[in-house]
Symmetry: C2
Subunit: 448 residues, 2 copies
Amino acid sequence: METQPARGMRDFLPDDVRRREHVVGVIRDVYDRYGFEPLETPAVENIETLLGKYGDEGGKLIFKILKRGDHESSGQADLALRYDLTVPLARVVAEYQAKLPKFFKRYQIQPVWRAERPARGRFREFYQCDIDSIGSVSPVVEAEQIAAVSEILTALGFKNFVIRLNHRGVLTSMLTTSGVPEPLHGETLTALDKRDKIGEDGVELELKQRGLDRSTIDRLLAITAFLPAAVDPFEELDTLERKIGEDPRGASALNNLREIFQLSTSTGAGHLLLDKSLARGLSYYTGAIMEVGVRHLPGSLGGGGRYDNLIGMFSGDSVPACGFSLGLERILVVMQEREMFPAFIERSSIDVVVAAIDLTAQVTMMETAASLRKLPRLRVDVYPEVVKKMDKLFRHVDQRKARFLAILGGNEVADGTVSIRDVATRKQETIPRDTLAAYLASRLTTND
Amino acid sequence: METQPARGMRDFLPDDVRRREHVVGVIRDVYDRYGFEPLETPAVENIETLLGKYGDEGGKLIFKILKRGDHESSGQADLALRYDLTVPLARVVAEYQAKLPKFFKRYQIQPVWRAERPARGRFREFYQCDIDSIGSVSPVVEAEQIAAVSEILTALGFKNFVIRLNHRGVLTSMLTTSGVPEPLHGETLTALDKRDKIGEDGVELELKQRGLDRSTIDRLLAITAFLPAAVDPFEELDTLERKIGEDPRGASALNNLREIFQLSTSTGAGHLLLDKSLARGLSYYTGAIMEVGVRHLPGSLGGGGRYDNLIGMFSGDSVPACGFSLGLERILVVMQEREMFPAFIERSSIDVVVAAIDLTAQVTMMETAASLRKLPRLRVDVYPEVVKKMDKLFRHVDQRKARFLAILGGNEVADGTVSIRDVATRKQETIPRDTLAAYLASRLTTND
């Protein structure tokens, strides 16, 4: 009988869950402290809520749920699995308008499902960690999201990360100023966006194939050239101002970026830089766009931007919004490859196993475990069976990755003692039972 | 356009999520400290994994997912939504046998989906919180689960709860001894199980209708009569021993219960009592059964028992197991009705909102927020727009349930001060900006 998880889905064994929970815990803590509020929506949505929201390609990837009962044989679907966290947010904003604050900042950390062809690092069930700030067009919103993301990555132990910032208005203005005809804007940006992967020459070739002439390409590559990080963003914005400042859209976009940089001076600005070539999937962004990555590591750990025309899709209102999505699965892969998880997560799953070598010692074993479980954060296992062979017990202790083993027999019960064994050093000593909690507390701290 | 969640599903707004997270956090913490390890499985399983596992009625409630692409028009389903956490556990145990410890203790807190007719307190997406201990038939397993559940309920603030304990062998033996013919055992237990709801007379009537004679019913009601909690369980076990001790199955079950009570003396035994009439859905239980409830409150908060023939369903091995499932949704309803959530969850979602009344003060606003966000657990919001009308700001602060409001204008920036307002008392004072963190830290602690 098949016992693997379904294609593209994953089981998370305890070590996996602990790593995931660690990362999610850090993310949640920072978002809480930044005043974002938690939201959760159902895994299952009415199919009409999702259809038509993700383009032709996206629509094909939606998992659809069969109608039930007598309708089952009709093959019709009335429900579907959540495909992202943005459409449910738009639905929630429309449904609970009266209950939500005008400036609503929410985070949502939940799985989504997409029927993509599974590949390395691509799954059919994966978590999204989204923040969105609804209701304001102020650059304070972007600056606050940048600060929060920066704090999360720092808290997770990332050092060489950069948050690249650009603006859709700057891009449009640069394309227009360079002479790229409007109908070619989309394709041109797609090509520029690949500069990381295919290099300057690759971009040039693609642009030629799309029909841009030599001088347009030169102007475009010059104006969007990636900056060395050392360049002061305000200087660079001034330089750009001289090139696209005549275009009102360009001027206003540069102004917006300038404000975001100014508001960010005190908050993680060390990681923030202007990247004129950053494009992202531009279809719905309307203002600033941002992407976070680690230096010398291809791909991104997350990204976002302003999208002022999407959240109102259900209510019909125009609702300004800006969001940032962290890629949990990608962050986990990088942290694992770089061994960035704190020692306490990798090292052990159990602090102490309490075991009885006589049936009569089992009641004392339970008492001892109960008193240890009163200590905060100490993880205590009891060995369920009376120990007959010590090797079996030692194997259990190894399998559980326990750090200490407390052994009780008839003698220990009578004497009021316990034998305590350090699993790593194999040293064993007998101590008074009422000192065990203090003993473990000190040993587990000093060994940390 | 429809913006409600799908039928029987729920959106959880921030206050809901915080309450749920609080309860889940307590459950997770206790299970961690008891050495249970976290497991997560995908929401979506291959349909063959689930079909045939939940009986005819259960099978109809499974949400099935349409095959994708060209197969979509066939109306065939190849996947299905998780229906419980036990079948996935059995699959995991079979699949990762070599990786898992012989005595595997896991907890799993995830949603399941059932296409039931929605009703008060019954949803189509709801969380299960399961623990299961795999690999041992020792009564230490039952005692440990009882202790953990008892500690969870105590930590959540429940006081008058009782964990009722019985044994399938005791039930069978009581029925046999009372003269209930074997083929009527199932129906008889179903009737007995309703004693809580329909009373002794109701049970009597049902048993008559099922064909039991007067004297059998009398013997049965006498032998299963519910005990006043004051009775010592060991005495009661001795009394029962005299009635069913001749039957080997009865004797061995009583022995098992005696051991569980003995092992529980140090761990939450104050809440544990013998309930000879407890039956539960008996189909797969093979040993001890338990159920936790609150005195004077109908229904249970969770239950479980030993089921030694289920976990091996995929591997074909016989794998002993014992599990306990807490009903998260029910616990939440009771806690809300009885106002049991800690004040810090109900009271506020934000500790302080920082606002600028001049555009030039926004950079200082971001700096101030950044310094406050360095404090652990302080939740800090910034007001995104330059304040033009104070009422609007006050309304925002109310909507966010903030406790303090820090206001910055040109004067404050120049003076190095900040105006701080206590939202509840409306008292406002101006203090040096570098004392703000200490001010809030002391005010928020003393007000707790």
